[in-house]
């Protein structure tokens, strides 16, 4: 596993696109901050650090997109086949699990990068923060942000290995991490429910708060909202992330390593 992680880290760090993505993240964060400083058109003061000064809502979308690029080396024809042909049976299973672990590590690195660059942007903008949260709350919030990205990242890996199609994987990453797949599915179920005589949007209101996209949105509101149970389901988004996102990610990794790895690789 460690050898495979080192290999993936090497090939990603030697690729140009990863640096292009990092540069885009830095530019999109710092440019508005510097514009604020020079034009004095920004807010006078931020209420708090997380959710107000630092918005991390795009992290899971970006993480899923990066994962789709990393894992779209088609296993049936690409470099992966060269590696897989040099691995024994059990090591092949590890190869599949490693892709998920590497993608989660990439998502964690992206979360930390976005946070660090966001802090730099905050300093560059010169806008003060009225009530910055304690460090442990910020750390918990960052962890939850990563946890909310985890199911999308791992499901993207699963889709990449199942379909071996770059187009399908990227489309899934964009639609899935953007919450469109979950929203569309719920609307569809609600529509059928309404056709069967039920109340329209009843399913959405019942199930919605438990969907990863909805949990990610709640986490995006800031550290205090993430840890607070004062919401419609009376359960903190951090706990909902642990209840929903963690098992979903683990199940997707297990399916990939135990089931998809048994398919013909070429």
């Amino acid at each position: 596993m460690i050898a495979l992680l080192r290999s993936d880290a090497y090939r990603v760090l030697r690729s140009r696109w990863i640096w292009a993505v990092a540069a885009i993240v830095v530019f999109l964060t710092l440019a508005p901050a510097l514009m604020m400083r020079w034009t004095n058109m920004g807010p006078v003061c931020y209420d708090n650090l997380t959710g107000s000064a630092l918005a991390m809502s795009g992290v899971q979308l970006l993480a899923a997109a990066l994962t789709s690029i990393v894992c779209c080396d088609r296993t049936d024809i690409g470099f992966a086949r060269s590696i897989l042909s040099s691995l024994g049976g059990r090591a092949r299973m590890v190869w599949f699990a490693e892709k998920s672990v590497f993608s989660l590590a990439l998502a964690a690195a992206l979360t930390v990068l976005a946070f660090a660059v966001g802090l730099l942007g905050l300093l560059a903008s010169g806008v003060p923060v009225a009530n910055p949260e304690p460090a442990w709350q910020v750390a918990a919030w960052l962890g939850c942000t990563w946890l909310c990205a985890a199911p999308y990242v791992v499901l993207t890996v699963l889709v990449a290995h199942l379909t071996r199609s770059e187009g399908v994987t990227i489309a899934f990453a964009m639609l899935g991490a953007g919450g469109l797949l979950e929203g569309g599915l719920l609307i569809g179920i609600d529509f059928l429910h309404a056709l069967a005589g039920g109340e329209f949007l009843a399913v959405t209101s019942a199930v919605g708060p438990w969907l990863p996209a909805e949990i990610a949105s709640a986490v995006g509101a800031g550290a205090q909202a993430t840890l607070s149970a004062e919401n419609a389901v009376q359960l903190a988004p951090a706990l909902r992330a642990l209840i929903v996102c963690l098992p979903l990610a683990v199940a997707a990794i297990a399916a990939d390593a135990l089931l998809v790895s048994r398919r013909d690789a070429a």
Partner: protein
């Protein structure tokens, strides 16, 4: 010891039977030429041997070890494979491709391994171009280098001469012979470039419709493709019966134009036999048999049908 043994190896893709009960052996030190028409099951067999595809039935025994398929205790296979396409990371340099694979196999000094392999296949370790700028021939050579990472004992190469110019073909051929002689690597090569295969292979297997049609050594191949006598008779059927009686040691093959090709008998013997039979001879000539023609004939053999000139034990 046999490096590869397959018993009743079968692969079915939905309705298509790609490999049908294949029994094949490749011994240590062989350069095994695997020949067959497009779609005959060559690549599928190679994929099953290196574990990229699972057999529908039958088994592959590698290095005489049915339990772990010849894998090392660390879980690495002793096989290097280049199947169908080079399988390279186009956005990286050739050296980076090799370092990435060496790291994946847990090798120390990955950079040194990469430089050595690039030199072995005739690529420049200092070339900073991305692989996407490479010609097909260069990608093939890089694919071979990738297959050699980890020092495999068995190398599976599917169409390694594809896209190579004559100089690169020669370099590839020499590299394979060197690997076989100096490092003792057993090599299984499938190729349509029969004259190249003929120059390197020590044994041949011919696959037709997913079944092994014939297996023979290079000495046997050259014996069979030696000189023969072409004879065209006014009454071919009667003439064949009389010639078979007169020349029991010879083998006979009918040509599309009705002529007979006789191997295992000298021109004089055939001439005497024809004269004795009393059948009018319209043409009689000595000819050298083309290896390609021989393979084409074997590849055309349908299931359960032996080639017309097959010697005992040749058809399987």
């Amino acid at each position: 010891m046999n490096v590869i043994e397959t018993h009743g190896l079968t692969k079915r893709y939905r309705r298509k039977l790609a490999v049908d009960g294949l029994d094949m052996t490749v011994a240590t030190g062989d350069i095994y030429g695997f020949v067959g028409k497009n779609g005959s099951g060559k690549s599928t067999t190679m994929k099953m041997v290196c574990g990229l595809a699972r057999p529908t039935a039958g088994e592959v025994i590698l290095f005489g070890d049915p339990e772990r398929g010849g894998a090392t205790p660390q879980g690495f296979s002793r096989i290097g494979a280049l199947i169908e396409s080079p399988g390279v990371l186009a956005s990286l340099t050739a050296r980076d491709n090799l370092v990435a694979k060496a790291l994946a196999l847990g090798m120390t000094h990955a950079g040194q391994v990469a430089d050595d392999l690039l030199a072995l296949v005739g690529l420049d370790p200092a070339d900073r171009r991305r692989v996407k700028a490479y010609s097909l021939g260069m990608k093939q050579r890089l694919g071979l280098a990738l297959a050699l990472v980890g020092g495999p004992d068995l190398l599976l190469l599917d169409e390694p001469f594809n896209g190579l110019d004559p100089e690169a073909t020669r370099a590839m051929r020499l590299a394979l012979v060197r690997l076989n002689h100096e490092r003792g690597v057993t090599i299984m090569i499938s190729s349509h470039v029969l004259d190249q295969l003929d120059r390197v292979a020590t044994r041949f297997g011919v696959i037709a419709d997913g079944r092994l049609a014939a297996e023979f050594t290079d000495e046997e191949l050259h014996e069979r493709c030696g000189s023969s006598v072409r004879v065209r008779l006014a009454a071919p059927e009667r003439g064949l019966a009389l010639l078979e009686q007169a020349l029991p040691q010879a083998t006979f093959r009918a040509e599309p134009d009705g002529a007979l090709v006789v191997t295992g008998a000298a021109l004089g013997e055939v001439s005497s036999a024809c004269f004795s039979s009393g059948v009018e001879v319209r043409e009689l000539a000595q000819q050298e048999r083309d290896i390609e023609e021989y393979f084409v004939e074997l590849m055309g053999v349908q299931k359960g049908q032996a080639p017309s000139h097959a010697e005992d034990g040749e058809a399987r």
